[in-house]
C-alpha cells in the first residue's frame, strides 16, 4: 500500500508538471487574456478539486456517524478536511495573484471568493474543534457533525452573496466557455491535483492514526473475562 500511494503522488506531480508546462508555454495566447491569465490553468483545477475534496469530506462525515468504532474513518475524515483547507487556501492565494493585475484588486466580495473563504475558515474551525473533544469517539462524532454543518453552509453562502451581486455589475465571472485547446491542460492539471490530493490524504490519515494510537498508548486486547458473577439463591 505504501508503494502504491507514492506512485499516485509521483504520477500526480508528473501530470502537474506536464499540464502546467503545456498551459503556460505551449497553448496559443488567447486574445482577450493576458499572459497572467495562464494561472487559470492551475486555478480552475484547484477550484474543482477543493470542492471535490470537501464533498468527499462530507460523505466521510456522514459515514462516520453510522460507524460503531470510527477510528480509521475519523483519521481519513480529519485528513480530508485538512487537505480541503489547504487547497482552499491555495485557491484564494491564486485568486489574489490573478485578481491584482487583471482587475486591480487582490480581493473582492463576489460569490465564489466569499464562499471559498467561508469554507476555508469553517473547515479550519472544524479542525480546531478536535482538540477540545474528550476521547476518540467524541472527537470523531464532533468532527463529523461540524463538517456536515460547515459543508451544507457553503452553497447557502454562495447563493446569499450571489443575490447581493445582482445589484452589482457582473464583471468578475471567469470565462465560462473555454475553447477545446485548453481542455487538455486543464484536465491534466485537474487529475494531477486530484492524485496529489489523494496522496496527501492517505499520508496524513496514516499519520493521524498513528498519533491517535500513540496517545492511546497502544491497544492491547481486553483481558479474558474469567469471572462470572452469577445469581445466588
Amino acid at each position: 500500500m505504501r508503494d502504491r500511494e507514492n506512485l499516485l503522488g509521483a504520477l500526480g506531480l508528473l501530470l502537474l508538471c506536464l499540464g502546467s508546462a503545456w498551459g503556460l508555454f505551449y497553448t496559443p495566447p488567447e486574445t482577450k487574456m493576458a499572459s497572467v491569465m495562464r494561472i487559470f490553468f492551475i486555478h480552475v483545477p484547484t477550484a474543482w478539486n477543493a470542492l471535490l475534496i470537501a464533498t468527499f469530506a462530507f460523505a466521510l462525515a456522514v459515514g462516520v456517524l453510522f460507524k460503531k468504532s470510527p477510528g480509521k474513518w475519523d483519521a481519513a475524515l480529519a485528513a480530508t478536511v485538512e487537505v480541503a483547507c489547504v487547497y482552499t487556501v491555495m485557491l484564494l492565494i491564486q485568486g489574489s495573484i490573478w485578481g491584482k493585475p487583471t482587475w486591480g484588486t487582490y480581493w473582492d466580495w463576489d460569490p465564489r471568493l466569499t464562499s471559498a473563504a467561508v469554507m476555508g475558515v469553517a473547515f479550519a474551525g472544524v479542525l480546531s474543534l478536535r482538540s477540545f473533544a474528550e476521547g476518540p469517539r467524541r472527537k470523531a462524532l464532533w468532527t463529523a457533525v461540524a463538517t456536515i454543518i460547515a459543508y451544507v453552509d457553503v452553497p447557502i453562502v454562495y447563493f446569499s452573496v450571489q443575490m447581493t451581486d445582482r445589484t452589482l455589475h457582473q464583471n468578475l465571472s471567469s470565462p465560462t466557455s473555454v475553447s477545446s485547446i485548453y481542455h487538455w491542460p486543464l484536465r491534466a492539471n485537474a487529475f494531477a491535483l486530484l492524485f496529489i490530493g489523494i496522496w496527501l490524504i492517505i499520508r496524513r490519515a496514516r499519520t493521524i492514526l498513528l498519533e491517535a494510537e500513540d496517545d492511546a498508548g497502544g491497544s492491547s486486547p481486553a483481558p479474558e473475562a474469567t469471572l462470572v458473577a452469577g445469581v445466588e439463591g
Binding site: 498508548g217 497502544g218 458473577a229 445469581v231
Partner: protein, 228 residues
C-alpha cells in the same frame, strides 16, 4: 426457572483508556430483585462499572443489557446516583424535583414532591436554592430525584458520600426498603462492613479486574485476604 431476562447482564464488559483498562472483562448476571455490592480500592473501576451499566459511558468492548435491552433503550427503568448531582444550582430543591418529574411525565403535585423531600430529610427546604445547599443536602436531593423516578434498577455510586451519620442511617433504611420492594440494586461503596449485611451478593474489583464474587457477607474477609 424464570424465562425473564436478568435485570442486568454484562458480557465481557471492558472499558479502556489507552493502555489502561479501567474495567476489564466482567461477566455479570443479576436477576431482578437481587442486590450487588461492588467493592474495591480507589481506582478499581467501581464508578466505571456503574456508568457503563447506566450507559453514560460506552464500553470499549463487551456489552451491557438492562432488562434484556441495551441500556439506552431501558433508561426509564434505570436510576443512577452518581458523583455528579445533575442539579441546577440556580433552581430550588423543589424546582429541581419538578423538572425531573415533568420531563419524566410523572405527577407534579406539591404533595407528592413535598412528601419526597420529607422522606430524604429535606422537609421545609423546598424553596432553598441548590447554590445555598450544603453537599450533604445536595446528596439528599439527588436521592429524592431517584425516589421520584422509582426505577426498577437502582445504581448507587458511593451513596454514603457527603452524608452525616444520620444520613448513613437514612441510606441503610433506603437500601432495605428498595430491596423489600423488589428493586434490583447495584451499589458501590468503601464502607463495606456497614453495607455488606444489607446486600445479597458482593463483587470485588482490583485494578479493573473482577477478582472475587460471592455472598456479600463474605466480602470483608475476601477483601482482607486479597488486599493485604
Amino acid at each position: 426457572m424464570s424465562d425473564l431476562p436478568p435485570a442486568l447482564r454484562a458480557t465481557a464488559l471492558s472499558r479502556g483508556y489507552g493502555r489502561r483498562w479501567a474495567l476489564a472483562g466482567l461477566n455479570l448476571e443479576l436477576a431482578a430483585g437481587r442486590s450487588l455490592l461492588v467493592a474495591g480500592p480507589n481506582g478499581a473501576g467501581k464508578t466505571t462499572l456503574l456508568r457503563l451499566l447506566a450507559a453514560t459511558l460506552r464500553p470499549t468492548s463487551g456489552s451491557v443489557e438492562v432488562l434484556g435491552k441495551p441500556p439506552a433503550a431501558a433508561r426509564e427503568h434505570l436510576g443512577l446516583l452518581s458523583h455528579r448531582t445533575h442539579l441546577y444550582t440556580d433552581l430550588t430543591c423543589l424546582e429541581n424535583l419538578r423538572v425531573a418529574a415533568r420531563l419524566g411525565g410523572r405527577d407534579l403535585s406539591k404533595d407528592r414532591l413535598g412528601a419526597l423531600l420529607e422522606r430524604v430529610g429535606l422537609a421545609g427546604r423546598g424553596g432553598t436554592r441548590i447554590r445555598e445547599c450544603s453537599a450533604g443536602m445536595r446528596k439528599r436531593l439527588a436521592f429524592a430525584r431517584l425516589l421520584e423516578k422509582d426505577p426498577d434498577v437502582v445504581l448507587l455510586d458511593e451513596p454514603y458520600g457527603q452524608l452525616d451519620p444520620r444520613g448513613f442511617d437514612f441510606v441503610d433504611q433506603l437500601i432495605a426498603e428498595l430491596a423489600s420492594r423488589g428493586r434490583t440494586l447495584v451499589m458501590s461503596t468503601h464502607l463495606v462492613p456497614r453495607a455488606a449485611p444489607l446486600l445479597r451478593s458482593g463483587l470485588l474489583l482490583v485494578d479493573g479486574r473482577p477478582t472475587w464474587v460471592g455472598p456479600a457477607a463474605d466480602l470483608p474477609s475476601a477483601m482482607s485476604e486479597r488486599l493485604a
